[in-house]
Amino acid sequence: MIEARDMTKRYGDLTAIERVTFTVAKGEVLAFLGPNGAGKTTTMRILTCFMPATEGTALVAGFDCFEQPVEVKRRIGYLPETPPVYQELTVTEYLTFVGRIKGMGTAALRAGLDRVVERLSLGDVRHRLIANLSRGYRQRVGLAQALLHDPPVLILDEPTVGLDPKQIIEIRELIKSLAGSHTVILSTHILPEATAVCQRVVIINAGRIVAEDQPDRLSARLRRSEKLSITVKAPPADLAGRLRALPGVLAVFEPTDGGAFLLECALGRDLRDDIARFIVTNGWGLLELKTVSITLEDVFLHLTQHEAGMETGSGTTETQEPTL
């Protein structure tokens, strides 16, 4: 449904994105993940025909963004970074205006209006001036604008910014419900959002795609060893040394403040059984034993910070996962 091939965008000397290539299948929800200034908005602006790429091509629903922009624009609902609302209009007036410039007929417009007002729970503010609405409502009006003409492709630039936690969940549910019938690209720098909503994640940093996969597979790919966390009731002083002597254990990190020991084991080996038996037979009292999985946060930090030439892992992840 969406195909970007070697897209490059330069603003004078500054290269915003370089050779960005990806495809999105029909009905798929894809997240663009990356720190601020990574090129997410630039990529979206090219796909929505707001501006052309310096090099490369972008196809949406089979139409070239450069050659047939009107056909592309007809099929896209776009929520820019800042919701493009006119403060001096009421919500209904604004959405009516949007419907008309999208070329909707009167009947389609009325139906679309009722649908988006209901889906985004804007009923209470229908006749209020947008200037008097809170940030969360404005964001929802912006989303309503993108969904109004029920386009097959949705491009949402940070759709949950400015919403309260309850609204964030509602919007995520909304986006999930669009999957299958609609093709969605959304950008975010909130990682749980990408995991919660999307089938595929593209991590973009400094204008380049650094990783692209399903959220769980991304973390699996970066895992170089299995990690276990163990809490023991009465550990002997040399527990770390004894654990290290067990077959399959690569490294042991002692707890810093009486917490859990962290074990690194060879990839593909599950040592939980052996270790549990080892501790229990010695009577030290096993309180907790669990595998530590790499979160998308770690993957993200690893990929984006590695690019910047920094040490992998931030201060907090370093104590837990020294060899991420």
């Binding site: 929505t48 493009p84 609302v85 205006f97």
Partner: protein, 256 residues
């Protein structure tokens, strides 16, 4: 409703909730009223003087004594007022980021430019229409020839179209409204002054070109009651050129 119609309707709605249109409109109307009143008083004192000198009340020509100078002065008022009406058209959209909505909608840039021009122009025509009260009231107390007044209004309408188009162009060039207003003001004043330059150079090729480029001569002929195709062509060409340039400016910004 067509997309252009939607843009015009939205612009009108935006104008009527902003204070600018009320302030500019009332000052514009006030000045028109004060000017025409002053010229009527002047004409009256001239009539009194003529009666004292000749002993008879000659038929005063209100067209020459009131309307021509009023229309002439209104051109200067338009030069100052219209940039304030047009400055927000594109500059505000860019500042508030609503421009992205327009540019990612399935409408052409020409529709956007024309819709915005039309929105501001309709406001101007409405204000101009309100000034029609002055000749209407005067016609109740005196008689004069309506035809030069109608051509005078045609002249003001055409001049206004040119000024609004220049304002659209200036507004497309920047996202700062003050800069947009000053830019269109400067541009219009410059074109106006070309006429003065032409007069200084006299009947030389360059002088003639400058005199033709300035709108002063073309406008003045219409105010005097003369409809000449070449003046209409001048205004039409100017209008198309300015709107075309605005289109190019908007288009060019996508490439930055």
């Amino acid at each position: 409703m067509t997309p252009v119609g939607a843009i015009v309707a939205k612009e009108l709605r935006s104008y009527f909730v902003s204070p600018i249109v009320y302030v500019v409109g009332s000052v514009f109307l006030l000045i028109f009223g004060v000017l025409s009143y002053a010229y009527v008083v002047l004409a009256g004192s001239q009539a009194v003087r003529m009666m004292q000198l000749q002993g008879t009340a000659a038929q005063l020509n209100l067209n020459d004594l009131v309307f021509r100078p009023t229309f002439g002065s209104m051109a200067i008022v338009l030069l100052l007022a219209l940039p304030l009406l047009t400055m927000r058209l594109f500059a505000e959209e860019r500042k508030l980021r609503t421009f992205e909505l327009l540019m990612t909608s399935p409408i052409g840039i020409n529709e956007i430019v024309f819709g915005k021009f039309l929105g501001a122009y309709v406001i101007f025509l409405g204000l101009l229409g309100l000034t029609g009260l002055v000749p209407l009231v005067l016609s109740m107390y005196s008689s004069f020839d309506w035809n030069p007044i109608l051509t005078g209004y045609l002249g003001l309408a055409l001049l206004g179209a040119l000024f609004v188009a220049a304002g659209v162009l200036a507004s497309a060039l920047t996202e700062n409204q003050i800069v947009a207003a000053f830019l269109s003001f400067g541009l219009l004043l410059l074109v106006w002054l070309l006429g003065g330059l032409g007069a200084i150079l006299g009947d030389t090729p360059l002088g003639n070109i400058f005199a033709y480029l300035s709108f002063f001569e073309h406008f003045d002929r219409l105010v005097r009651g003369l409809i000449d195709t070449k003046d209409l062509v001048y205004f039409l060409c100017g209008l198309v050129l300015l709107l075309f340039l605005a289109h190019r400016v908007v288009e060019a910004q996508r490439w930055k």
